[in-house]
Symmetry: C2
Subunit: 117 residues, 2 copies
DNA sequence: TAAAGCGTGTACTATATACTACACACTATG
DNA sequence: CATAGTGTGTAGTATATAGTACACGCTTTA
């Protein structure tokens, strides 16, 4: 359980082993931020960036945006929108599922996608 | 579908019909904000207040905090925490359930609470 | 050995968020 | 008819958020 910063750095260095285009500077440029900023993010000298920046970073580094956002304590705006449309329903559901084991939740997911609803 | 502000005002005036302690000033005081601020919130002259303030307001006005937060486009911090602990799982679930009708989601809720998991 | 590229330290900055403080006019109450 | 209470207009503020800009020393490359 290390933080968002180290997680990003590790992944970047991972990718770098197979492709030299993953220097801090180059990634920063593709993501559209200053290299110094990415440096600080990776070393957690500054708090996590915005949702948008995190998403671009996730895409660039081939990471799951939802995971990256979660490590920053954030929830993607599209999920927020889903909840906000039926707040009582989904609030109840989530609190209900808080301590439900993964496999049981996944069973629900599969049942729903098998779509006899 | 009127906004958060009018919704709050309406509820406050509703409560006021049976209890004079629901003037804008008195509610504001109990909630811990300035009356001018509450006034602006109700008339949507200012953007919605913080999560904490909305929750205290909900309690004071006997409204569902999740609903109030939702109308402000926010999601309660405890729900965020639940999602952030298993982001992939719950992101998938929520996107899956986005267009699932209420009754079907409620069926899940009941199945889970009947707890044979 | 010069130039390009690397990561980082320091110092700012712009915008959004979340309010407060004071003054005013109107209404109801004692 | 004074005074207590009501809602609101105007102006300002503190803090958080989300970054930028420049300079530096080190390393690799040509």
């Amino acid at each position: 359980m290390n933080g968002l910063g180290p997680y990003i750095r590790q992944q970047r260095e991972q990718l770098r082993q197979h492709d030299n285009g993953y220097s801090l500077r180059q990634v920063a440029e593709r993501v559209g931020i200053q290299p110094t900023y990415l440096s600080k993010i990776e070393r957690e000298e500054l708090p996590p960036p915005s949702e948008d920046t995190l998403k671009r970073l996730a895409q660039e580094l081939k990471l799951d945006p939802d995971v990256l956002l979660a490590m920053a304590g954030k929830v993607s705006s599209d999920l927020r929108a889903i909840i906000c449309q039926r707040p009582q329903l989904f609030s109840q559901l989530l609190r209900q599922l808080k301590d439900t084991p993964d496999h049981a939740v996944l069973r629900i997911v599969r049942e729903v996608s098998d779509g006899d609803w």
